[in-house]
Symmetry: C2
Subunit: 477 residues, 2 copies
């Protein structure tokens, strides 16, 4: 027994010494003001992790509202939900900004299949947003596989009457998966415009993901300048289906692919941005906007894209109120409508800001998923970028090491100007494209702590921005 | 259409500018040697992310072998699996190290229930490893809730005939969840020893997790010096059941809790560490050990704990071979047996190393899950710690920012000595205790890229350690 005790004590002691030491900003390297900031940030994190609301808000939005594509009844329900939760948080004012949005509907569940070597294979497929339908009987045609828009263009009229299959995969050696996405998404967005021009019957595009699985990823596309009669149906097939089809085409280049979809673009529909604010105590006319987008694709529940950004943005205001942080400037929370297919909400917000001569000092957007915090991407002038980077020592104890120059986000970018500091929240990106725009983007994929750490990260940088940033020149702490 | 095109182009452009710039080590800040290292590390990562084997190995281990508690037939199957995959990788030699291990079996599925306000509640419960069984008819007794071992001790003989309920939750304000675990696990490990002394009938312990859910977490416990007749049954109940029981006890302090378990400790069983190595080209007698543990708890599939560590350790060797990296020193991969309840494999390995006068320069252990990389924890002398920290600029492009002094791991710690540099791989910890020691620790919780990034992180630091570390004094690059 003694011996066993020793073994256990040993294991147990190792458990303790195995822990990574809880890193806290070493106080003696901080100035007096930085110590105050460090302590305030700790309070914000403690609050998010023990009394945060974001997870339950997200449950409600994803499970009771669900997927909420612009113009849909669910999107309207989401607007009502947004107004309700903003009021519950007790913001100083909450209002709706009317905006007309595109209204595309998927129609019946899409079907795709082909036969090779006497074997019929059903293909996981979904129409791309804004695609036209196939004819009622579907499209049946031979397939030409290409890896790029350039390769497709080079085919010219050879593609006439064929289905063009865009199959350039993500570059998995890129550590940041958004970069791999950026390197592939032209196929999805512009494939149909390129191939419609030359009389292809349709395009199918490999899903935008790092993984090989059987979930098709939808997303927006555009016909560009193409006259209506040249619009051809466009759909995404799962990465697994793309791999299989590519193999089968090598064996049987003349196989015929069939797909059918009944999507259509209806007239624009009325909708809203949902806006609420905490008025600033000193300079209420100066505004920091914090937001995510309320709309989502229809296939899943819009959890990581962008339910998490929505609830985190509201939680910034909640954490300010809960911890009695009174911002000098106005903190405005915006749930943007229609980021996915049109960014009409973002344009409307910027248009009204200009019209009303609002003075935006900065903005923060969360639209890269709800995973564990990694940092922020800064779109600002050099002085303000340097200032924000100087906060690394305050933020790194929370895993926020990556504070780099870069873009902010689609919804706040229209506010871009020399003295406006725009920031994108950057959580870990490794799992994001497992879920993005698919039926898998559901509440259960979001981890409560990761979500809350994100809210606290965002509240912390807004606290610092409110304290130290001005629209004219940055002031060093 | 033009207008719509503009909107889409806009959104699309934003996608691109929204990307976080791919960070690569800025080559002009690196010395010539560091540039070579940076390039080698990039090759390692590219290889792991495009031709890695770890994910398929993990699928095989978790789904075809499954949970593999020491002494079980599954643990033996895991040993055979380990030997097979090591040989497949083509290591220079592969062998088994015999070791006797504890052999505890869970028996029938545990049952727990209580009645309050006329309502019967079933409780999610599991026996703790090494606990004795309840009597055949189970244990039925009143409950005393405590928050600590000290509070329990202070009860003294008041606990006689009662069930003591340890209910101190994780401190969720701690950013690193292992620290919260370290702050609670004494209840699980020592609760029964403390309460057996005073004649309690049993102990139930709140599960070790950050989350409130209905999955009980098993784990090891010890009766310490307590004579056998004072051993009382110990079990974990889910955190949700703990919350509910605590509330119900406030209303009805005399409610009686019932539980039944039939676990038992059998005589020690023969088992093995699985060992394989790539022999060093210059100093084959100098050894770096890289490992994880092959055994797991029985409730799940042992995926994050520690299937991921096992496959990542082997992938270090695979990546060396695949990229023709010939280590100067011997790189030895070890799948340790019995980390969970005894660390007999670790002790045996260290004992044999001493007996055979092996010269270990360092070690690396992965036993903190397979989530996205965050860094390494270093247990080494000051000079070597400083040396390893100087590699941050080479490793931070891969998210490896946290390179801190701390413990390494339970399996390599017996090798601890002044000039031996021990390192623990530290992935993100936020999700770990959602799965740890539960039925939820299954293959589907592991993300392929996160797993592979871990393998590459480990291979990179081993590459640097092999190149720059000596057992006597560190040599600066």
């Amino acid at each position: 027994m003694k011996k066993i005790l020793t073994l256990f004590s040993f294991t147990f002691l190792l458990f303790s010494c195995q822990q990574t030491a809880e890193k806290q900003t070493v106080s003696n390297t901080l100035s007096t003001e930085e110590k105050i900031d460090s302590s305030q940030i700790k309070t914000i994190f403690n609050s998010a992790l023990t009394e945060g609301k974001s997870y339950e808000w997200l449950r409600d939005l994803t499970q009771n509202v669900g997927g909420r594509l612009s113009g849909s009844p669910e999107a309207q329900k989401a607007v009502e939900w947004g107004e309700k939760v903003m009021k519950e948080v007790g913001l100083d004012s909450v209002w709706l900004q009317p905006v007309m949005v595109p209204h595309w509907v998927r129609g019946e569940k899409e079907v795709a299949t082909y036969t090779t070597n006497g074997q019929q294979k059903n293909v996981a497929i979904c129409a791309l947003g804004f695609s036209v339908a196939t004819p009622k009987e579907g499209v049946l045609a031979e397939v030409i596989e290409v890896k790029s828009l350039e390769e497709a263009k080079a085919l010219g009229t050879k593609m006439k009457g064929k289905i063009v299959f865009f199959n350039r995969p993500f570059d998995n050696t890129l550590i940041h998966t958004f970069k791999a996405y950026g390197g592939c998404v032209d196929q999805r967005v512009r494939g149909a415009a390129v191939c419609g021009e030359f009389g292809a019957k349709g395009v199918i595009v490999r899903s935008m993901t790092n993984s090989i699985d059987d979930f098709p990823h939808t997303g927006t596309m555009s016909y560009g300048d193409l006259p209506k009669e040249k619009h051809i149906p466009a759909a995404a097939i799962s990465s697994l289906a793309a791999e299989n089809l590519s193999k089968d085409l090598k064996v049987n280049p003349n196989l015929k692919f069939y797909f059918k979809q009944s999507c259509e673009t209806l007239p624009d529909a009325p909708s809203f941005n949902v806006v609420g604010e905490i008025r600033g105590t000193e300079n209420p006319e100066n505004i920091f906007v914090v937001g995510g987008h309320l709309d989502s694709w229809d296939l899943g529940e819009g959890a990581h894209d962008d339910g998490t950004g929505v609830v985190q943005s509201l939680e910034v205001a909640y954490l300010f109120k809960q911890n009695n942080i009174k911002p000098k400037n106005t903190i405005r929370v915006v749930f943007f409508m229609n980021e996915e297919n049109g960014t009409r909400g973002a344009k409307k917000y910027a248009e009204l800001a200009k019209l009303n001569k609002e003075n935006h000092i900065g903005g923060l957007e969360s639209d890269a998923g709800g995973h564990t915090p990694r940092g922020f991407s800064i779109d600002a002038n050099t002085a303000n970028t340097t200032l924000l980077q100087s906060w690394k020592k305050l933020l790194s104890p929370y895993g926020l090491h990556d504070i780099e120059k870069g873009g902010s986000g689609a919804d706040i970018s229209p506010l871009r100007a020399e003295n406006v500091t725009l920031v994108g929240y950057r959580p870990d990106s490794q799992r994001y494209f497992d879920y993005h725009h698919t039926s898998r983007d559901t509440f259960d994929k979001v981890n409560k702590r990761e979500l809350e750490l994100g809210s606290a990260s965002m509240a912390s940088i807004i606290y610092l921005m409110d304290k130290y940033l001005y629209n004219d020149t940055p002031v060093k702490p």
